[in-house]
């Protein structure tokens, strides 16, 4: 069930200095829920891992509670990814912390070239309090704007430090830069791990799953057979910013089983050999996944609204 023959999913995490990347990485490690994460950092010096999480460390690898690890990739990311693959640690997810001047889409491009791993999504962390000033910086402006535009998911951090009105203004501004990426407001970098790592689907399929960070809802679509699966994936990614993630199976017009994966505005639809039941689980924030929002989607895909499931707080 894990990766359906795909490589280990890779998330590129970026954001300018002070956005809260370090705090977020520690939060994800503390709430990994049995998932084995590998965190790849650009440099070991400003280690993003809280000391109480570290079990052991040598020059190459830092071992973290729960089977997670942290490595530095220096100037050669592809070599570091190949090395991770070779370690054979049955990793569930790789998180690359990109430097503040990196072009995250270029990093994701490199990820796509390495066997054994596959691009999952670009997550850009934004400091609600300082982003607009930073985006006007004499030297960093275009770099920061390019990062925001490259995002599949925008995590709007530190929303407690601005007023509700200000948060609204920033969200509108972010949406004007990147209309497809869902904007997820959080405080203290505490983003639901499901949003970044996307392992909710296993729990949904396993039933009776436990949710560690509340405020999420899922919608399970049961598409008809023989639909245009590409169109479905694209629609979920581009037309529904409320859907932060989606994953599942559908059968295309040629009768092939397709794995659909959506991370914010990014989507992937690829043929899988296993015969699994059709069904796509969509993850949204709070109660944003309301039936009426999806009427157009149901209509587009000739689905019967009554047959769809809507669950809150999975």
């Amino acid at each position: 069930m894990k990766n359906f023959g795909h490589g280990i999913p890779v998330t590129v995490l970026s954001g300018y200095l002070g956005a809260g990347k370090t705090t977020m990485i520690n939060h994800l490690l503390r709430n990994a829920n049995g998932q084995k994460l590998a965190v790849l950092v650009n440099e070991f010096g400003d280690l993003p891992i809280d000391e109480d999480l570290i079990e052991a460390s040598d020059d190459e690898v830092i071992s973290i509670a729960g089977g997670c690890i942290c490595c530095s990739f220096g100037s050669d990311l592809s070599a570091a990814l190949l090395q991770l693959d070779a370690m054979n640690r049955s990793l569930d997810h790789i998180l690359i912390e990109a430097s503040g001047v990196a072009r995250p889409e270029a990093i994701m491009g490199s990820v796509g070239l390495v066997n054994g791993v596959s691009p999952d999504g670009i997550v850009i962390l934004v400091d609600a309090e300082t982003i607009q000033k930073a985006a006007r910086d004499k030297y960093m402006s275009d770099t920061i704007l390019a990062q925001l535009q490259a995002a599949d998911l925008l995590i709007l951090n530190k929303v407690d430090l601005v007023t509700k009105d200000q948060a609204g203004v920033i969200s509108t501004w972010l949406a004007s830069l990147n209309e497809n990426a869902p904007i997820i407001p959080v405080t203290h970098s505490k983003v639901a791990p499901d949003i970044v790592l996307g392992h909710f689907i296993q729990r949904v399929y396993a039933k009776g799953a436990h949710q560690d960070v509340g405020g999420l809802s899922t919608l399970t679509l049961l598409p008809k057979h023989n639909i245009d699966v590409n169109e479905l994936a694209q629609t979920l990614a581009k037309d529904y910013p409320n859907i932060v993630r989606a994953k599942g199976f559908a059968t295309n017009k040629s009768g092939q089983k397709i794995l659909i994966q959506v991370v914010g505005s990014r989507f992937d639809a690829s043929i899988v050999s296993k015969d699994l039941p059709d069904g796509i689980v969509c993850l949204g924030l709070g109660e944003t996944l309301r039936m009426q929002h999806f009427k157009r989607l149901f209509h587009l895909l000739k689905l019967n609204e009554a047959s769809q499931k809507l669950e809150f707080d999975i």
Partner: protein, 547 residues
Amino acid sequence: MVQTSIFRAKKIITMNPNQPETTHVAVRDGRILGTGTLEELAIWGDYTLDDTFHDKVLMPGLVEGHAHVMAGTLWRHVYCGYFDRLDPDGNIWHGTKTITGVIELLQVAESKLKDPYMPLTGWQLDPIYMDNKRITRDDLDQVSPKRPVGVLHASGHILNVNSKALELAGLLKLGVNHPGIPLGPDGLPTGELYGPDAMGPVSTHVGFDRASMEGDADGLRAFSKMCVRSGVTTVTDLAARLTEESVDKMLEVTELPTFPARIVPLRVFMGASAKDTIDLVLSLKDRSTDRLRLGRIKAVADGSIQGFSARMRWPGYLNGAPNGLWYTSPAQLAELYRLALANGIQVHTHTNGDEATEMVLDTFATALNEVPIVDHRFTLQHCQLADAAQFRRMKNMDMCVNLFANHHFYWGDEHYRLTVGPERANRMNACHTALEMGVPMAIHSDAPITPLGPLFTAWCAVNRLTVSGRIQGEGEKISVQDALYAITLGAAYTLHLDSEIGSIEIGKKADFAVLEHDPTDISGENLKDIKIWGTVQGGRIFEARNL
């Protein structure tokens, strides 16, 4: 018993204003005991008169302030450059003028390889001079369909590979989606790989393994031979990783009595925090020897102008290309500069575009105000597009500059019509302005990007000719005297080594460039044609012919 040798030469150009020219130099313990007439030097007691250089001209050993040891290691691969080039063993490799010629060259090299799996690698391809014709994997499959074949471009930022190399890297497949990997009509990669991200997964399969290249004994030896052939006695390796193993190896190789050069490797600021980098360099500093000078840092602010990755101020690139990339953020540089100043560590910073230069000047100004250290000699490397106002700021902050004079010759025409346009192309590598504003200045080759050879570099700065034969930026020409200063004391100053090298005077290292012609006597346009007999390094004689 102390041994004193007195060398007699046709002429000795000392770069010491108190005695600019002389005929004899006395050497003891690898250092200069004095210069003058034989009578003046005899006062030091017994000596052996060495007449080896009676018909030669001696200059201070030349100092190359921006090169890479890789210039030596690359020669184990096939030279595919457009221009004639001298290899470490003194053979001239003729430039190859067409793509067909390059393929034939590689075919010949291929036929000599015995191991059927060994990769075949070429370097220094520059299609700019071949109507920008592109090479595909089909072209390189003609060299060999069975072994991996790769050719690195002169810029170092593009790699051409054959089908086998793509296959080994797992990229000979449909669905590759990367901006640096163009696809052919068949949906498969064409074999052109643009930028380090795209090159990375393939380069090891075609024999470019950066990790193993550093501290490679044969490569270092080849590099040092190139130094002798170009009159260089002190040379930088301007972006080394300096791992434990590579430093051990470099110490071992440079310590050999036959090693003819002083290597100054700078630890690159990449992949480690500012604090860790400073700590590493501080610990390395103590391991320095006479011929391996550790303890300096190289930072990189932006990319290259011809690669459109340099950071440009308004109005940006001539062709409207988007602004380039920051390789290091202002915040990281600020931290590095503060810590480096506080710990007495010198930093050289690569800037190509004028916005990168501006950013470094701003960032350094803040750091220097916080940690006001005198005589830091922080140096801007390349700094190709700086204008007069920026040179004034450098002067005000006691910074140095090392300008890329060779670049002007090789790619000046491209900059004129394609990247930045006439006005900025004319002021590129503005040596005259730098000197006029009083900025301590060196000039460099960035070997292997362009050939190692400070006298050629001096020629470039004096004449400002481009490949097509145009004079580009008449007003930025400098005198022969200024150019000779830049490749000796000028470069030594940027390395804090001017008290030891850069001129022929009492107390300094006995480092000489041994020339067949007098650079002050032939006119500036002939500087590049001066024949070099070899060098004297630390009193040891190295004849290029007998290396």
